[in-house]
């Protein structure tokens, strides 16, 4: 034991020193606004403390890992072969149960007595990220094609609706499919130059695509409004009924027609329900696609491209369609986002969004739809819950992410659920 502590201590001391060096700019210096403007001040004791914390923390983690692996080694090995099958069946059953449960919960949530504006608002944000996660999950999770610039499709969807509605006066329901289509087109376009790329190169090019999109939006003043963005985007209507207090021309308002007294909550509920329907529709479509040749080809492509080719699967078509379908879902999410905010600007579409969406997909377990839902809940809600921690919430967030990746390196739901062949469902049930 003494030897292992000594062994780990060296690494931990180095870690602590590195942390102290890093902490100098991040923690050691801070700005205070005084009468003379911003003044930089120092807090060296914090730097020392952060070094000590990293030292102690990493030592604790290393020792804990030793203890755990020692315990694991004592346990009998699981026999391969028989075990996975039962696990699969169990995971499939649990996932299904969870899917039904969370769907019911999501549908009834707006009608619960405790649900207020805040809950509806956060709920809608979660749903947007679920939709984005499902989109990226097609490209990254199913087809295995990395995309670090997914936010581009989100932005393209949002600006498609913003521009179409403010210049041509088209409504949300017309623009929703159009935005998806435009984003899908860009997805197909992006996939062309990267067909031959893999790994690091793919990461860099897709990252570039995300940034290029944002920078074009930022600089094309006449078309996109530049940094000022586009405002006055119309809100979605329900069969021609508006949820605004004073409906725009040509629309009657929901509260007048139904006789329910006006409340902003209704609009939030309505938005929430639209987002929920989009998510449910997307989930259903992806589930179907997975069992069709196109979806099966995506998953096979992730596993072995050479084998795919020899089975007659055209890898080009598969890759293009994976990016297009993923991009389309991103476009839907963007269109909805624009309609919800009534305002878009380039600030909403930074690399941070791409990273968050990718985190959702990876945390959820590549390819798992339920995983995406759980991870989106986690990623959106944790910072909300952590508001009391104020400045520290991002640290808590980071620690939680690391913890998950340490304990479940394959993501929360890393078990792939087999698809059922659509055309023979009847035959198999019999």
């Amino acid at each position: 034991m003494a030897i292992t502590i000594q062994h780990h201590l060296k690494g931990s001391i180095i870690g602590g020193l590195i942390a102290m060096v890093l902490a100098v700019p991040f923690i050691g210096l801070y700005t205070v606004s005084t009468d003379q403007g911003l003044v930089v001040q120092t807090r060296w004791s914090w730097v020392v403390w952060s070094g000590v914390m990293v030292l102690v923390g990493s030592l604790a983690v290393a020792l804990l890992r030793d203890v755990l692996s020692a315990r694991r080694a004592g346990r009998p090995n699981r026999a391969a072969g028989t075990k996975p099958k039962r696990d699969d069946a169990l995971t499939a059953k649990l996932s299904k149960g969870f899917a039904i449960g969370i769907t019911l919960f999501a549908i009834t949530l707006p009608f619960m007595p405790f649900s207020d504006r805040y809950i509806m608002d956060v709920g809608t944000t979660v749903l947007i990220f679920v939709l984005l996660g499902m989109g990226l999950n097609v490209t990254v999770g199913l087809a295995g094609l990395l995309d670090l610039g997914f936010v581009a499709f989100y932005a393209i969807g949002a600006y498609s609706f913003a521009i179409l509605s403010t210049t041509l006066g088209w409504g949300f329901w017309v623009c929703l499919p159009l935005s998806g289509l435009i984003a899908a087109l860009f997805g197909a376009l992006l996939s062309m130059p990267i067909l031959r790329l893999r790994g690091d190169y793919l990461a860099i090019v897709t990252l570039g695509f995300g940034e290029i999109t944002r920078i074009i939006i930022l600089n094309w003043q006449s078309f996109t409004g530049g940094p000022a963005g586009i405002s006055g985007i119309p809100r979605p209507s329900l069969f021609g009924l508006s949820f605004d207090r004073r409906p725009p021309e040509g629309l009657t308002s929901f509260h007048e027609v139904t006789g329910i007294s006006f409340a902003t909550e209704h609009r939030l509920m309505f938005l929430y329900l639209i987002a929920l329907s989009l998510v449910l529709a997307a989930a259903w479509v992806i589930k179907r696609l997975r069992a069709l040749p196109i979806g099966r080809a995506w998953e096979a492509l992730r596993e072995d491209e050479i084998a795919c080719r020899s089975l007659g699967i055209n890898p080009v078509a598969s890759k293009v369609s994976a990016y297009a379908v993923g991009g389309m879902l991103g476009g839907f999410a963007g269109c909805f986002f624009a309609a919800r905010q009534g305002f878009v600007s380039p600030e909403s579409f930074t690399f941070m969004e791409s990273a968050l969406i990718l985190a959702i997909v990876v945390l959820g377990g590549l390819g798992s739809q339920i995983g995406v839902v759980i991870a989106a809940l986690f990623i959106v809600l944790l910072p909300e819950v952590g508001r009391e921690f104020a400045d520290f919430r991002m640290i808590v967030f980071g620690i939680a992410m690391i913890a998950i990746m340490v304990w479940r390196p394959g993501g929360l739901l890393s078990q792939r659920i087999p698809t059922i062949r659509l055309s023979s469902i009847k035959g198999e049930a019999a």
């Binding site: 080809a297 596993e303 072995d304 084998a307 795919c308 080719r309 089975l311 699967i313 698809t419 062949r421």
Partner: protein, 239 residues
């Protein structure tokens, strides 16, 4: 006319000449075996037939049509199915899903019948139907790879070292199945093997490849009796 005919086929990997003018043909209904040392270019030959890499010169005729420039997914559509070296099954998918992917090009109406045929050919696969293919043993994975290739009802089956790393008993089983496919289904097979004894016994005709060229050809039994072949590929070998 032969189903498959290669004339003067050369394939390069950059400066490396892997095939240096290969002439072989495979007739309808034949089992043709290709043997040769490591690095002779056997896998390259099968891959060139499939379309990746493309031949630098020469012609590949399949059913009278030049297929030199077709990519693998197009040659697969013509009915050429390859069981690649190292099996290359889809490990995270179930056995059944692997078969479904094999049927990508097949007629969906035949699926149930073909799946039943394969699971009957290798009963162990039926037991493992819903198990992840990656958890199968090496022999089972090879059976799956062959089954998967059969699902599209190919006209020509290319097998790259199906006995690689398998126990003698399983090798026997695999070779029995290959012979059986040829006899009962009339399947045309081009078989690449290190296991020269079994492969030559099975073959109607055979070629010996060395350094990217055909150095010997003849009937299976004929090559089996050939002293040069015996010396190079059989003596002290495992048979």
């Amino acid at each position: 006319m032969s189903l498959l005919q290669l004339t003067g086929v050369r394939t390069n990997y950059g400066p490396i000449e892997a095939l240096r003018g290969v002439d072989i043909h495979v007739n309808q209904g034949e089992i043709v075996t290709l043997i040769g040392a490591n690095g002779a270019g056997k896998s390259t030959l099968l891959m060139t037939i499939c379309g990746q890499p493309k031949p630098a010169s020469g012609t590949i005729l399949f059913d009278g049509k030049v297929i030199n420039d077709l990519p693998p997914h197009e040659t697969a559509k013509l009915g050429i199915a390859q069981v690649p070296e190292g099996r290359r099954i889809f490990p995270r998918m179930t056995v059944f899903e692997n078969l479904q992917l094999g049927a990508t090009l097949g007629n969906p109406a035949h699926f149930d019948e073909d799946a039943a045929y394969c699971l009957d050919l290798f009963p162990i696969l039926a037991k493992r139907r819903d198990q992840r293919a990656g958890t199968l043993s090496g022999g089972e994975q090879q059976m799956l790879a062959i089954s998967r290739a059969l699902m599209s009802r190919p006209r020509l089956l290319l097998l790259d070292e199906p006995s690689l790393g398998l126990a003698p008993l399983i090798i026997r089983l695999i070779f029995e199945v290959i012979a059986d496919l040829n006899k009962t289904r009339g399947m045309t097979i081009l078989l690449v093997e290190q296991n020269a004894y079994h492969a030559l016994k099975l073959a109607h005709r055979a070629y010996v490849l060395a350094q990217g060229q055909v150095v010997l050809e003849g009937g299976g039994a004929e090559l089996l009796a050939n002293p040069e072949v015996r010396a190079a590929y059989l003596e002290g070998g495992s048979h």
